[in-house]
Amino acid sequence: MASSSQPVKSPNRSRTRLLRRLTQAGFGLFIVGSSIRHYLVTTEHVASIDAYCPFGGIATLWRWVSTGGLFVQKTHQSNLVLLLGLIAGVILAGGAFCGWICPFGALQDLLDWIRKKLRLPELRIPPRLDRVLTYGRYVTLGVILYATIATVKLWFADWDPYRTTFSLGWLFEFNLSEQWLAYAVALVILVGALLIPRFWCRYLCPLGGAISLLGNLSLLRIRRNDASCKSCAVCNAPCPVKIDVAQADSAVSADCIGCLECVEVCPREGALSVTLGPALPKILRPQKKEDVA
């Protein structure tokens, strides 16, 4: 029985983490490479990273539906395709997009790794405040959708820290006088992510908000078996989005990004596992404890 709250090192954990880092790096390099090609290749048209963002699909959806096929400027059919893929992915596997694919999530993981290497203290947010702040994602999502519909353009694009960072405008077309606000927002978010793991994802990301809402329907979930779990809380420590896994409902929160860290560190066989189960929102699930087959 584990009596310490220290994470357990295991070969499986290292392998899973390596796989995740490689996957994140692959998608990150694709986006960075696309941006570089967009700036440097002039002999052919190279798409900007705007075309590769599933959130662009959410932002343009209303215009596309209401006009019968028109897009908000800078968005294209690819955004809708990626949105469909994202929705399918979330219904199948919850927030795996955030944990394994999103380059901005990967960048925040990198900043967290740097913080640990520099032995900087983590800024811990009290649980109650943390819960309140997570609603910030829905506020951001609502404001952006409203403003995009009202202005018929990617209203948030000029300040979007993901776009500011990965479009590489700061590298190829640095313009402090016009872009200072975008740079400032990105800088604040990145400094925040250096001190608070996954700061943007946990409190502000509009796409994360949408994924979290839809994640209640996901078929694959990490579930905690109350009978096996001794609530040692070892699983809480490595969670990048600070879910209280040890006290979680049978199905771990829809905010889960599927990084599998908690499953890997759990010292008790079967206490935490990935399961395929009915996709029921929390309020519709029976209150009794579920067994894991």
Partner: protein, 241 residues
Amino acid sequence: MKAIRVNKYLVPVFGVLALLGSVWVAKAAGAWQVSGRGVILVDESGEADPEGIKGWMTLSDVSSVYGVPLDALYTMIGAGPEIPPDTALKDLEKLVPGTEVWAVREGVEAYQGGSWMPDYGRYTGEAIKEPAPPAPTPTPEPAPSAEEHVPLGTGAGSGEGGGEGFTLPQDGSRLPGSEIKGRMTLQEVVDYCQVPLETLIAELGLPDDIDTQLWMRDLANQYGIEVTTVRDLVERYQAEH
């Protein structure tokens, strides 16, 4: 229903495959489009809308999509056959000074609306050759000439079109922000759209002493502010007031 324990790696595998699979399927179906190139904007009647004319389009594209004969298009932009039909509109400015995408857009709109004909010569925005009937509202103003820039007439212009490509609402209400054209001056935007000059100056970051007779298209040249930006701003203002 009991949950079934499965391999943990199904989480990333399904997440990644769903995303990449959607891309593969879209590519196979020919639905993977990462730019606006090749996309033609159509209006409610299904006709190609001149608002969708983009800098990547060639003269030949514009001619075939919008039904403007190539000769007429050359007259419209004040160029001759020395400009190849496969010249992109965004490159026209270098070859034919003063020809910008917005001018082609408005010219095509005027051609389709019948307010500009090749006989009129190069499209300058002052397309109406026949006098419009007397305006129902205030002060009649002289018809604009090709040589000088004068404020737009306020007449409803039932004749051959709407003069500068827009028609003031006959009920005296304000001009919608979406109708702002490159040939309108800042003062005309203030007057016709009923938006305070101070708001425009503040929101667009213009100097306080800006010349209010400056054309919208010149805002782009001098201050990097596109007409679409002014349209968006005025539409927002009008929606709020």
